[in-house]
Symmetry: C2
Subunit: 264 residues, 2 copies
């Protein structure tokens, strides 16, 4: 195997970078301690590049490296090539990817008072969080505020479910509910049992949607801060929707309200 110019080669499982990668790939909160994020696979890496992000390190398996697009290596500050077996052992996936990027964790952004926003109140499931970020980005929301107790947003499972949405949003984690006082956009709480029916409601635009814990919903204290409460009619009579499904419906309705404003 030719050794690429400028690329360093890792063939020991005790290499400090590999140790960090294993933590980042397998421990959802490791990025907070290490200050770095691991993007596994070409889809997420392409999405980061498309947003102009410069990776700290591009990582390739030895067998994949010769066929890797040059832009991937050129885009990164540093390139490393890792023995195939060692890179496979990094992954938490059933089908490990042969490449990935290490990013510096972006500094926590300041809260924008006027931005269309989504507030996550102790959301627990990584797949739900990623799906909500994806919907938020699709429907023109600019920032996602994760209150304390919410799943770690830069964790690998959330990144995978987010499919690149992370790179188009301001993600503000570890926020206390009191900090929401800084928001100038109206707070709209999703509810399973009270408020206006979504299909009849006039929605403010922009606004900040409050989405709650999978089992408990939005906390009563947070619900009390909201100027409007919205529930989704369920003619089939089931007790509740999945929170990411409810979020998609509300954020779409809100985005459509924005489209209607723009076109009128």
């Amino acid at each position: 195997m030719t050794s690429p110019i400028g690329a360093s080669h890792i063939s020991s499982r005790d290499n400090p970078l590999l140790k960090d990668l294993r933590k980042l790939a397998q421990d959802p909160g490791a990025y907070r301690r290490l200050g770095r994020v691991w993007l596994e696979g070409d889809h997420l890496c392409r999405a980061a590049l498309a947003r102009g992000i410069r990776p700290a390190i591009a990582v390739f398996s030895e067998s994949f490296w010769p066929s890797a697009p040059a832009e991937w290596a050129n885009s990164a500050i540093k390139t490393v090539v890792v023995d195939d077996d060692l890179l496979r052992a990094v992954s938490g996936l059933e089908s490990p990817a042969p490449m990935g990027f290490v990013l510096e964790l972006p500094p926590r952004p300041a809260l924008l008072p006027d931005a269309p926003s989504v507030v996550l109140d102790r959301l627990q499931d990584a797949g739900n969080a990623g799906s909500i970020l994806r919907s938020a980005a699709a429907f023109g929301f600019k920032q996602v505020i994760a209150l304390k107790g919410t799943v770690a947003l830069w964790a690998p499972k959330v990144l995978r479910a987010g499919m690149g949405a992370h790179f188009g949003l301001r993600l503000i984690e570890g926020v206390e509910a009191d900090a929401l006082d800084e928001l100038k956009v109206p707070l709209v709480a999703t509810s399973s049992h009270r408020g206006d029916w979504l299909h009849q409601a006039r929605l403010p635009h922009p606004c900040a949607w409050l989405l709650g814990h999978e089992g408990q919903g939005v906390s009563p204290a947070l619900e009390a801060r909201a100027g409007q409460h919205i529930r989704i009619a369920q003619p089939g009579g089931e007790e509740s929707l999945n929170v990411a499904a409810a979020a998609a419906i509300c954020l779409h309705a809100s985005g459509a309200a924005g489209l209607a404003q723009t076109s009128s």
Copy 2:
């Protein structure tokens, strides 16, 4: 520990029922071979009872059994109590539940030509499938038709994400696309790139929504069968939504169209 009247006790890991339970809990397609479904945990079991389903077997851990609600055991044809460690080893979950039900797999229902329906075209992800079943039940859809190549709908992960929706729907698996000719309701295909914008479209009610593979969407052959194509405006410019998020938005819009018909 008192031995309950009528309950048999299992303390060997080689017990044939335990072997079957391990298969059912850990192999997504095992229910098709064994003709039985494993419901783990009280939420799913309560949901089945609420729909009038009579479990073939109620299974309890030895330490949980004395505090188990009597209706759970009384509802089942047979009750078994299993050593705690053995029951834990059955589960595929990080936090195994101390009880569960075994159901006979319902016979495959006949296709109802006039029912509001959801058609799954090679959907791959169990969490997405479960979330879609939940949304379908919530918004008044009556049957879900899974075309060949779709994830197994009675698999444990789909059951968990479905949160009981399985018991309120006609689930028809392993269907060839030609069988959709039996449907008299109009076919509406979701699309990422063509058709009417959902927020401006007039939706037929009832109808059958076509939802596609996570990466490829609805197949071209199936798309061609649809009388209407619907896409969701994404003012944020992301390339696509998660399929369960898109489904929630479309099924809600369709349900709301039904509500509007009923009230007019």
